[in-house]
Subunit: 138 residues, 2 copies
DNA sequence: CAAATAATGCACTTCCGTTGCATAGGGTTT
DNA sequence: AAACCCTATGCAACGGAAGTGCATTATTTG
């Protein structure tokens, strides 16, 4: 897939072998993944390299970090036209307590949050825990 | 303050010396505090005892844990009539990126969250980051 | 090819939360 | 008072995960 190389190059990331594999992995998964997930998937690779790969992806804007409250940082690819940095375009994340998977919910925007006077919101993290659609239909 | 003892006893917590001091500390602080905060405040006390004290308070329902996204668990006393366990009564938390303090925003309820079909929400964690009222007025 | 630059791999650290276990305290029973 | 019980406490150690330092390897550039 030359597509993968294009994605990386377009975002000023050198398309190394490892990076292409990690990108592939992220594309295939439809859920947010942790460093350990990637590590387990690529058996003979180094954790640090994967760690830095994931962070490079975040810095360069092709994926975003997710704090789903589990204490384990998750990563997911950004959608087209995603502006993770900008408050107005943030989406919520859903963490299923049954299958333990975390997904981006991009269909619905985060509703406007009311704050007391003189508070300035710069960023919002909204995590909903519960039962996901898959687990609910079993 | 015999008040403190009453609070603990009323919640089936034996009012030991340490617990009274920690409760006092929590009452005085208007912001969420971390284990390290308590540890630093009571110089010659043991980290584990404080850790278990804070968790006892949470288990017995007089305070709640806060995951504000900093990676450090915070604790704050529940308000009167607080039902932290129940989804509908949750409040949002605000983390100031300037003074690094986290506060409970109990004035406003968390707005209803829309989820895709077949998703069941059991719990919501909403953390807003930005500039707090105090820092904004300096 | 040589030099510069960037990515990788290994070891190690730090931070925080958590647990095991032995001891001390406080109240109750004999 | 002594023996007893149950809980709280203190010390030590563990564990997971994020992050760093540095030497090595790969890749680009002159
Ligand atoms: Mn997402
Ligand atoms: Mn709160
Ligand atoms: Zn699920
Ligand atoms: Zn502030």
């Amino acid at each position: 897939m030359q597509n993968l190389e294009k994605i990386l190059e377009h975002n000023h990331i050198k398309p190394t072998a490892m990076r292409l594999l990690v990108l592939q992995f992220l594309l295939n998964k439809k859920v947010a993944i942790s460093l350990t997930d990637v590590e387990n998937h690529f058996d003979q690779s180094d954790r640090t390299t994967l760690y830095r790969t994931l962070n490079t992806f975040v810095e360069k804007g092709i994926s975003h970090k997710i704090d789903d409250g589990t204490g384990i940082t998750k990563y997911a690819l950004c959608e087209e036209n995603c502006h993770c940095e900008i408050d107005t375009d943030l989406h919520l994340h859903f963490h299923c307590t049954k299958c333990n998977e975390t997904v981006c919910i991009t269909e619905y925007k985060i509703p406007p949050i009311h704050l007391p006077k003189d508070y300035i919101a710069e960023n919002v993290n909204l995590v909903v825990k519960g039962i996901c659609e898959k687990c609910n239909n079993k």
